[in-house]
């Protein structure tokens, strides 16, 4: 009977995990008329795609670093509050608002007549086009990822035995030394999960580049969407996809947590 139960699940695994990825790999060796070729890979390794990949990595890196620099202190502050679950909920609530709605809000905020420019104007600065720039892309991405980064970091800080902090003070460490020598090393697992949650999606945020970056930022995700839905060149799109999967595997291995490796 256990075998009967397993059938739908195993079927799901084959149809929706193994087959799609295999098909994608197969398509990456196809040209637009369906002939087997290495042309796509040759094109990807040519300067244009490599530049785009480096660019995508650079933005994903910037977004991850900025998000981490904001989220770590935020998680730390919340973990010391009295009603921490309440404040955590406050931070989490914005994630339940559709990502597109939040992105759309920034179109208004950063627009030429938006609130940021109005503030600039009143303090005597000239209006500048903030929207449709890499600045807008990074700002909105950081905005979206903060709660996702805060959550795992908060959980790991919150899971630290309080006596370890007391022990650190007891042994003469100052607040800063306790943070750097005890709290930070013990919350590294949370930081790693936070980086995973941020870095990989940041490589593939195509709607952000379309909506707020004015196509000035081309990520791997934008390239895939472009090839699949606009150029209808599934072969090239799949090749970019295969590389994105490879990068993803690499990031997962690099940030593998202790528990998983045992």
């Amino acid at each position: 009977m256990k075998r009967v139960l397993a059938i739908p699940y195993l079927l799901w695994m084959v149809v929706f995990v193994i087959l799609p990825i295999s098909f994608m790999i197969y398509y990456s060796f196809n040209d637009m008329s369906g002939n087997l070729t290495l042309q796509n890979y040759a094109e990807f390794l040519s300067s244009n795609y490599l530049k785009m990949t480096l660019n995508s990595f650079w933005y994903a890196f910037l977004i991850t670093v900025i998000t981490l620099l904001i989220s770590y202190p935020l998680a730390l502050v919340i973990s010391r509050l009295k009603h921490k679950t309440f404040w955590l909920l406050i931070i989490i609530i914005p994630t339940w608002i559709n990502i597109l709605l939040k992105t759309y809000a920034f179109i208004g905020i950063l627009g030429i007549n938006g609130v940021v420019n109005t503030i600039f104007e009143t303090i005597g600065l000239t209006q500048i086009q903030l929207l449709f720039s890499d600045f807008a892309f990074i700002t909105v991405a950081v905005y979206i990822f903060i709660p996702f980064m805060v959550l795992p970091i908060f959980n790991s800080i919150n899971g630290i035995n309080k006596n370890l902090i007391s022990a650190s003070y007891d042994l003469g460490a100052s607040k800063w030394e306790t943070l750097t020598r005890v709290i930070f090393p013990l919350s590294l697992e949370g930081v790693k999960s936070g980086i995973q949650i941020t870095f990989i999606p940041a490589l593939s945020l195509f709607m952000l580049s379309r909506l707020v970056a004015g196509n000035k930022v081309v990520t791997l995700g934008t390239a895939i969407e472009q090839q699949f839905l606009i150029n209808e060149n599934w072969g090239m799109g799949s090749t970019v996809g295969v590389f994105l999967i490879l990068f993803m595997v690499f990031v997962m291995l690099a940030t593998r947590t202790k528990k998983e490796s045992v």
């Binding site: 007391s166 007891d170 090393p185």
Partner: protein
């Protein structure tokens, strides 16, 4: 210099009054045990000395120096935590090195002191080990090594042996006692285990609901508990109601007995305590009270015998003498082994009273 003085300390957490007017001086170089049931405030008291809790009111002095506002990391005090609180991301050596690195002790001196501390705690072979690979007793030793390597004036131990199994616990008791004598610094040990307190301490503080009820040497507290609470908490006891007739004479169930206590007004209702091991079984009619053996339990080193006297009161006796259930015998105890307690008496009054007739009776 490192005498610890607590002055009128009160501690509230929200509305709960955890410590009530604690006044006590710990003198230097002794092994103190704070003994009490959970929730009596003993751990809070320890945390105030360690600097993890600020007293709501009252003052804490180390020597002449007021310590209230000095944070934990600036106190010459180290703590061995109940759950050891060893840093899981550091190995044994790095855990022990933590405090010295913080204090920027030079590498050569650091190595020397760590080596010494590890040798002291029999951990020399374990220095590269991960914390998670250690047994409970080894973790305990690392926690001690990590604390003493800083050469503190005072070592605080919070229920430090309670996580260990019985045999290891007894072994660690010997080691702790020995360690304290070698180091010559003040140890303040918190426990709810009376045997541990009796075995280790130079002085025991018995606490109850935020008060220090009685403080004294293990022998004093065992032989002359202030009241029923202390008597029951430390050791087992038979406690019967009585009335003081005059100095050296007490009446129990209308019969007069000679005793060695005094200083109590005639006619004062008192409680008379006799330890189970101080009662001797005699053939019927030869002791103080005729009794019937109700039950016998073999406890290994002794029998625990419950007997009922003619008024129906139960007495517990620890003895190596054999008897059998239903047998009619009598019980006898020396006058030195009767201890008179006056309900409601304060510790100071009690001590004064003891002094007042010392040597007279």
């Amino acid at each position: 210099m490192t005498e610890i003085r607590l002055q009128n300390i009160h501690q509230y957490f929200d509305d709960a009054h955890i410590l009530k007017n604690i006044d006590f001086t710990f003198s230097e170089g002794k092994f103190y045990t704070i003994l009490g049931p959970s929730g009596c405030g003993k751990t809070t008291l320890l945390k105030i000395i360690g600097g993890f809790v600020n007293p709501t009111s009252g003052d804490l002095y180390f020597g002449d120096k007021k310590m209230n506002d000095i944070p934990a990391n600036k106190r010459q005090v180290n703590t061995v935590f109940q759950d050891y609180a060893l840093f899981p991301h550091l190995n044994v050596y790095e855990n022990v090195a933590f405090g010295l690195k913080i204090k920027k002790v030079s590498k050569s001196e650091r190595d020397e002191r760590i080596k010494e501390a590890l040798r002291f705690t029999n951990l020399t072979d374990f220095k590269e080990r991960d914390i998670e690979s250690l047994s409970g007793g080894q973790k305990q030793r690392v926690a001690i090594a990590r604390a003493i390597v800083n050469e503190p004036d005072i070592l605080l131990l919070d229920e430090s042996l309670s996580a260990l199994d019985h045999n290891l616990r007894v072994e660690m008791q010997y080691e702790l006692k020995e360690l304290q004598q070698k180091l010559g610094i003040t140890f303040i040990f918190v426990t709810h285990d009376q045997e541990e307190a009796l075995a280790l301490s130079d002085e025991i503080l018995v606490m109850d609901r935020g008060h220090i009820v009685q403080a004294g040497s293990p022998k004093d507290i065992y032989d002359e508990p202030l009241n029923r609470y202390v008597a029951d908490f430390i050791g087992e006891s038979n406690i019967v109601e009585g009335e003081m007739l005059e100095d050296g004479k007490v009446s129990i169930y209308g019969r007069a007995y000679e005793c060695v206590d005094g200083g109590v007004k005639r006619g004062t209702p008192v409680e008379v305590m006799v330890r189970p091991e101080d009662i001797i079984l005699k053939p019927a009619g030869e002791g103080h009270l005729n009794v019937t053996v109700d039950s016998i339990l073999f406890r290994g080193v002794h029998y625990e015998i419950c007997v009922l006297d003619e008024d129906g009161y139960e007495w517990v006796i620890h003895t190596t003498q054999r008897s059998e259930e239903g047998k009619k015998v009598s019980i006898y105890f020396d006058k030195e082994n009767m201890h008179i307690m006056v309900p409601g008496e304060k510790e100071e009054e009690f001590n004064e009273r003891l002094e007042s007739y010392e040597g007279i009776l």
